[in-house]
């Protein structure tokens, strides 16, 4: 994957497959401690500890159509190559949190990428799931919560093209503002 926003799009698919109804994603640019921390937390079906141990193995998957599952394996390789790692906390029936850490200033650390496109794609394709996205930088904080959007739009569908476009611009502008103008 080229950037972190694509890893997010990919990892959230696991939450969707776990039948989550609320998926909370956060990116923390902790420049002071030289860390970029990505977290994806869902209220899906969760996993037992045995399964958690296996999920970053590319030859483990719950799919029955084929025998490989590359999502977590890929992000783990990327994180480890940048002096970080993947940490998974899960409880059956409660949900799962996947935490990915990168060294912020590592030369191979993927750029953050187009988060606005990832969130817009997720909301448009999964109108029945709620998404929360939080992004923290040394400059400030952006928070998006699809439940707040739903409150405002009433009986209009959240996957209505104009609403999706609004979400995309809201996130793009919000991240621009806390990135001090320069891309990340």
């Amino acid at each position: 994957m080229e950037d972190i926003s694509l890893y997010i799009l990919d990892l959230v698919q696991n939450s969707i497959a776990a039948a989550a109804t609320l998926i909370e994603v956060s990116v923390i640019e902790d420049v002071q401690n030289d860390k970029l921390i990505l977290s994806i937390k869902d209220n899906g079906q969760g996993m037992d500890s045995q399964t958690v141990k296996k999920v970053t193995d590319p030859f483990y998957t719950t799919r029955t159509t084929r025998k490989v599952g590359l999502g977590l394996a890929l992000v783990e390789a990327a994180a480890q190559a940048c002096g970080g790692g993947v940490y998974i906390f899960s409880q059956p029936g409660k949900g799962t949190e996947v935490k990915v850490e990168f060294k912020y200033n590592h030369i191979d650390r993927p750029p953050v990428g187009k988060i606005d496109e990832t969130v817009a794609a997720l909301v448009a394709c999964n109108p029945s799931i709620d998404f929360v996205y939080t992004h923290i930088t040394p400059v400030g904080r952006l928070r998006f919560d699809s439940r707040e959007v739903r409150q405002r739009i009433g009986d209009l569908r959240i996957d209505h093209p104009e609403v999706v476009e609004w979400i995309r611009e809201y996130i793009r502008e919000g991240i621009d503002e806390i990135s001090g103008g320069g891309g990340v």
């Binding site: 698919q13 496109e117 817009a120 794609a121 448009a124 959007v149 405002r152 609403v163 609004w166 919000g174």
Partner: protein, 123 residues
């Protein structure tokens, strides 16, 4: 800065133009969003479908996603389902190809044969 207030305006505008009770039983576009699809460029393809649907105000078209469709080497892929017609699978998509598919297939009903999985297999 965007404000939540704008959403209420969007709602007003949309409610005036859309019949919300209308069942959406028109065309369905399904984009493959497995790891393979995403790495190959499924996101810009999906967004291109969404943009075209918005630009052309195609109210009976749903764009949605699925996991790995199973032919990873031909990603990004998308399937187009039109009521009463056979499913058409498009492969190796780009936003440019998407714009043609929307214009020729989804709007005018003529599949873009050269972008289909059948055409790719012959190569």
């Amino acid at each position: 800065m965007k404000s939540l207030k704008e959403l209420e305006e969007i709602r007003q505008r949309a409610l005036e133009s859309v019949n919300l009770r209308k069942e959406r039983n028109g065309t369905r576009v399904v984009v493959g969003m497995g790891t393979c699809g995403i790495a190959a460029g499924a996101r810009p393809v999906l967004l291109a479908f969404l943009e075209e649907v918005k630009k052309r105000n195609l109210q009976d078209v749903i764009v949605t996603q699925t996991g790995c469709i199973g032919v990873c080497r031909l990603e990004p892929m998308a399937e187009v389902y039109r009521p009463g017609e056979e499913k058409v699978t498009y492969v190796k998509l780009t936003p440019e190809k998407v714009r043609r598919i929307v214009a020729e297939h989804i709007v005018n009903g003529r599949p873009v044969t050269e972008f289909t999985i059948g055409a790719a297999d012959k190569q």
